[in-house]
Symmetry: C2
Subunit: 245 residues, 2 copies
């Protein structure tokens, strides 16, 4: 079991920032090359799931890690509070619609894991329902994996201090006003309860695909880890350009 409270949110001390950024650039170059083949072959797909507390840097990953990809083969979905129509269906309904087809890299900014976080912390649903949802999530992810989807789940782990600094910046920097939400501050006070809920997720929903806990206090390090893990996943696939038909 993960102990998030004792898990680093910062890069290892010896990490050289500039060298790391340079390396990330190289990884992104290789990502682009692999993506071309993934798309051309059309047999496998990648699903990147980004989770983390408010201001943990999920949006940034899209810009900093994946923005260089060929947009034809990328599909981003951000999941906010469910719409009325979405609420009339099971919690996986809106998620399933957005999974990437073969050849595509799909990126989820938040995901079905929100449905075992917020409603749990707010006590809208009971533990029995949570357990059932865990099982449905595992079944659902197995279905995708059996259909040639590689699922990469990233938890962006940010410290209370760094989170507070970022939330404050959203109230002080004009270009970030739009991200400010009073509710984020309230959620931040429930940090420990959220971390407990996350640890329970890591324990029960790693069967189909494992979680990557990403130290996220430094964006350059977070980006590096995610680029590296994604490239590794692509390298492990038997990708090749199709023959001439």
């Amino acid at each position: 079991m993960h102990k998030l409270k004792n898990t680093d949110t910062k890069p290892p001390q010896e990490t050289d920032k500039e060298a790391c950024k340079l390396k990330t650039g190289e990884l992104q170059e290789q990502l682009r090359e692999k993506q071309k083949i993934l798309y051309a072959q059309g047999e496998y797909s990648i699903l990147v799931i980004l989770q983390g507390l408010d201001a943990s840097g999920k949006d940034g990953v899209l810009n900093d890690v994946f923005s260089g990809l060929n947009l034809l083969g990328v599909q981003v979905a951000a999941f906010k509070a469910p719409t009325e129509e979405e609420s009339r269906h099971d919690f996986l309904w809106r998620i399933h619609q957005k999974v990437p087809g073969k050849g595509i890299i799909g990126i989820f900014n938040r995901s079905h894991y929100e449905d075992v976080l917020v409603p749990r912390v707010e006590k809208w649903i009971d533990d029995k329902t949570i357990k059932k949802r865990f099982k449905h999530i595992n079944d659902f992810e197995s279905l995708l994996i059996e259909n040639n989807t590689v699922i990469l789940k990233f938890y962006l782990h940010v410290s209370a201090e760094e989170q507070k600094e970022r939330l404050t910046e959203r109230m002080e920097n004009r270009t970030k006003f739009w991200k400010h939400n009073d509710n984020d501050w309230q959620v931040a006070t429930k940090r420990d309860i959220y971390l407990d809920a996350y640890e329970d997720i890591f324990e029960h929903c790693s069967k189909a695909a494992d979680w990557h806990i990403v130290p996220a206090d430094k964006n350059w390090y977070k980006n590096h880890i995610i680029a590296k893990a994604t490239l590794k996943a692509l390298e492990q696939l038997p990708l090749k350009y199709p023959d001439l038909k």
Copy 2:
């Protein structure tokens, strides 16, 4: 285990056709009343799944049993051979999108069960994959049921003789030409293999919701059975008009 080959495709001999049709009309009247409440309440949904060999009368059910319902609260989906986009996703992807939201009666003309029939009979997928699909179907149906959906699965059981007669009519009656498909005749020659595949489905995919085997040689009897089962399902729900808010 069902033994379809020894199961009646005709109504019980004593059944009076005219009395039965009259009764069906009454059931439909009650269906309409119950549907009003289902829709107004918006807490439960009904999913009717129609399966059966070609010319077993699936389209007819839509017209004859459900056509009187308030269209605001009905949603029909017909599943034919998957499109290219659908083929790029897992077999439940297109199905999940079309499940009824709360308050709605959804009717599937063919369904995810086609994905454990045609590919199996044609040997496009192996037995191991079939078994996995059975499990995914059960998990998927459980997800819907836990979300207040009542699933009614009808297998329309038609005799070889009646099927042949109907397929022939499609080549002789101008208003039915559009339904003619040479391939249906070829499929009809594989009747026994399809019945075996169906029996396997009944055995493995009745966990979440049971199958109704409907004698379908006579449309008036088939319609009666389906109207009755659907009404019964509605009657078992704690339906009530919402209070004034």
